[in-house]
Symmetry: C2
Subunit: 385 residues, 2 copies
C-alpha cells in the first residue's frame, strides 16, 4: 500500500491525488502557499486582488496595460439582467446570504446560459469566468442594500467609478458609504488571501461538476453550496460568534478553557493541509491588529489573541485564515452573515481557473465506494412483508 492509500485509510480522500493542477501549491513543508509559483506573502504585500485574479485566470501577472484592460472589462461586466434583480428581491430578507449567492448564480445561468456547443463554449468561457467574478460583488451588494434600504442601489448593479476595485465596490455597497483607504486595502488583501487553495472542498466540487462537461454556472453553484458548510467557508462566521462573546482577554481565556473542558469544537484553528502554520494567518492577523487601533470594539483583537494563546497551550493548534478574518471584517463594518459571501467573491477567481483547467484535459471524476450494506437478498412481495 503506498502513502496515498495509507492516508486515505482515514477517509475523506486525504492525501489522494484526485488530479493535476498548475494553479496552486498548498501545504508544502507544512506551511507553503503559492499561486502559480508566487508566494502568498509576496502577492498580499506587493500585489492587488485584481492582479491575483488575473494571475489565476490567465496564468500570469498582468502588465500595467493588461491590468487596466482587466479592470475595465470587469467594470463593464458588473450589470445584471432585470430577471436577476427580480429574483434577488424575491428572496426572503432572513435567508442565509449564501443561499442568496447560490440562487443569484443559478438564476443568471438561466438568463445568460453557457453555450452547449463545445466550440462556442471554448470561445466564451474566459469571458464567462470574468463575468461571474464581476457579477458576485454586485449581487451581494444589491441584495444587502435591498434588505437594508428596502430598495436596491439606484444604479442597480452597475455602480462605482470605472477604476473602482472590487474591494472598494464591496465595502461601499455593504456599509452604504465611501470606505476609507485603509479598509479598501485591508479588504483587497483579504480577497487575495481567500482567492485560491488548490483542491479544497468547494474547488474540488466545482471540478467534479465541470468534469461531467456541465456548464460553468452549475459548477459555481455547486462550489458555493460546498463553501457554505461550517467545515469550509462558514468557519469565519463561527469564529466571530466565538470572539464576540467575550469582553476581555481574561474572559476569553476562561470561556475557551471551559469550552475545551466540555470538548466543544472551536472553529478557525488547525487545517486539513497545513501542519505547522497557515501562512495566511500572520498577514490577516497584522491587518486585524492595525484595524483594531482606533475601533470602538478594538478589544476584540486582544480577545482573539487570548483565544489563540489558549488554543496553542491547550490543543497545540494554530489559527487558520478564518480566525483573524473574523475580527478584520468586523472592524471594516462587514456584518457577520456576509463573511462567507465575501469568500465567494474572492474564490470565484480560483474556481474559474480550476474549471477552465479541468476542461483542458477532462476526464469524468467517478470514484468507487466500499460497500458495507446487506448482502444479496430476495425480493419479497409487499403482501408478505
Amino acid at each position: 500500500m503506498n502513502k496515498a492509500s495509507e492516508k486515505n485509510k482515514s477517509g475523506g480522500l486525504r492525501g489522494v491525488e484526485a488530479g493535476s493542477t498548475a494553479i496552486c501549491t498548498c501545504g508544502h513543508e507544512g506551511r507553503g502557499l503559492d499561486y502559480r509559483g508566487y508566494s502568498i506573502a509576496e502577492l498580499a504585500a506587493r500585489g492587488s486582488f485584481a492582479e491575483t485574479a488575473h494571475l489565476l485566470l490567465k496564468g500570469e501577472l498582468p502588465k500595467e496595460s493588461e491590468l487596466a484592460d482587466f479592470h475595465l472589462r470587469l467594470h463593464s461586466l458588473r450589470g445584471a439582467p432585470a430577471a436577476v434583480c427580480a429574483a434577488l428581491e424575491n428572496i426572503p430578507a432572513k435567508a442565509h446570504p449564501m443561499d442568496m449567492m447560490r440562487t443569484a448564480c443559478s438564476v443568471l445561468g438561466t438568463v445568460e446560459p453557457e453555450s452547449e456547443n463545445a466550440a462556442e463554449r471554448a470561445k466564451g468561457q474566459d469571458a464567462l469566468a470574468e463575468r461571474l467574478l464581476a457579477f458576485f460583488p454586485g449581487a451581494l451588494g444589491y441584495w444587502h442594500r435591498f434588505v437594508c434600504d428596502g430598495k436596491g442601489p439606484e444604479s442597480g448593479f452597475i455602480s462605482g467609478e470605472k477604476e473602482e476595485s472590487v474591494a472598494a465596490q464591496l465595502l461601499r455597497l455593504i456599509t452604504g458609504k465611501e470606505p476609507p483607504p485603509e479598509h479598501i486595502r485591508a479588504m483587497d488583501v483579504s480577497l487575495t488571501l481567500y482567492a485560491e487553495h488548490e483542491f479544497n472542498a468547494s474547488t474540488f466540487t466545482a471540478r467534479v461538476v465541470a468534469a461531467t462537461l456541465s456548464d460553468m454556472y452549475s459548477a459555481v453553484c455547486a462550489a458555493i453550496g460546498a463553501l457554505r458548510g461550517p467545515l469550509h467557508g462558514g468557519a469565519n462566521e463561527a469564529a466571530m460568534a466565538l470572539v464576540e462573546q467575550f469582553a476581555t482577554p481574561e474572559e476569553a481565556r476562561k470561556g475557551v478553557g471551559e469550552m475545551l473542558d466540555r470538548r466543544e469544537k472551536i472553529m478557525g484553528f488547525g487545517h486539513a493541509v497545513y501542519t505547522i502554520e497557515d501562512p495566511r494567518n500572520r498577514i490577516i492577523k497584522e491587518i486585524a491588529r492595525e484595524l483594531s487601533q482606533n475601533h470602538p470594539r478594538g478589544h476584540l483583537f486582544a480577545v482573539s489573541e487570548a483565544v489563540e494563546e489558549m488554543m496553542r497551550e491547550r490543543k497545540n493548534l494554530f489559527p487558520n485564515l478564518d480566525f483573524y478574518s473574523a475580527a478584520a471584517y468586523h472592524f471594516m463594518g462587514v456584518p457577520t452573515p456576509l463573511f462567507t459571501p465575501l469568500f465567494v467573491v474572492s474564490r470565484m477567481s480560483g474556481w474559474g481557473a480550476h474549471i477552465l483547467e479541468q476542461r483542458t484535459d477532462n476526464k469524468l471524476i467517478r470514484p468507487g465506494a466500499r460497500y458495507t450494506g446487506p448482502s444479496s437478498r430476495s425480493f419479497v412481495s409487499i403482501s408478505e412483508r
Copy 2:
C-alpha cells in the same frame, strides 16, 4: 502500488474508494446492480418506484401500511410557496430545464431553509429528503405547463389524487392529459432504474458538499449541476438526438458507421463501472419495445436496435440505461429537454439517501493534487513586468 492507486493512474479517481456506503453495489461481476441488497431486475419487475424510494431512504422495503403512509406524506409535501412559483415563472421559457430544476431547488432553500442547529437538523432531515422527492415533479410540471400554457396548473403544485404515483403525476403534468396505465407503469419502472447508482458523479458531488456540513439544498443543487453534464445525465438527450436523425434501420447503420469513421462520440454506450453489460438496459429496452408497438414513430425502436448492433460490431460497446430510455420517454410523450429533469426526480431518492448516510459518519472530503505548474518564482512589481 495497490490496485486502486494503479487504477487512479488513469485519472478521475476510477477505482479509488472515496468512502463507504450501505446503499448500493454497482458493477459487481461487470454487470450487477443492487439497491440495499435487492437486484435491480427484481425491484423493476416486482416493486414500484415508491417502494424503491422508501428502500433507499429508510433502508427497507415498506410494508403495505408503511407504503400507504409514505404515499400520503409525499402527497402532502407536493406544495410550493408562492415565492417558488414566482421564481419559476421568472425563468426564461428557453432556459435549459436543468437550470430551472437547479434554480427551483436553490430558491426553495431560501424559503424553507434547513436548520443550522445540528440537533434540529438531525430531527428534520428525513422529512426534508421526502420534501425534495415530492417537490421536484411539481416543479418540473409547473414550469413546463407554465411554458406550454402561459400559466401554471390551476391547482398549483398540489394536484392529483392522494394515491397518485409520482410516475402518473409526471406524465399528467408533462403531457397535459391523463396518461394510459401502460405509460404510468413504464415511467414508474424507469424511475426505479434511475433511482440510485452508488458514487456516480452527481451523488459524489452531493456527498462532497454534504461533507462540509452544508445544507441539503446546497448538496442537491450541486448534484443537479453535475447530472446536467452530457457525460452524466445528459446522455439520454444526446441519444434521442442521434436516433431521431434516422428514418430506417438501414439509414441508422450507415449514419452511425460514418460517424464512427469520423471518430465522433456516440452517447449512451459503455460505462465507467460496468464492463460486460448495464443490467438496466434489457429492462428499459423491453419497455421501449412494448411502447413502440402502436406508436406512430415506433420505427425509432428498430432504429435504436440498428444503432446498438453497429456499436457492438464496430466498437464492442453495449448500450447503457440512457440509450433505450430515450426512445421509451419519447413514446410516452416526454419532450427531449425534460429527459434529464426526470432523472433528477428519480435520483433525488438516491441523493437523499447518500446525503443522510454521509452525515452519519462525516469527514470533510478534501483530496490532494499533483502540481504541474511553474516552480517558485519572485514577485516582480507591475512597472517592471
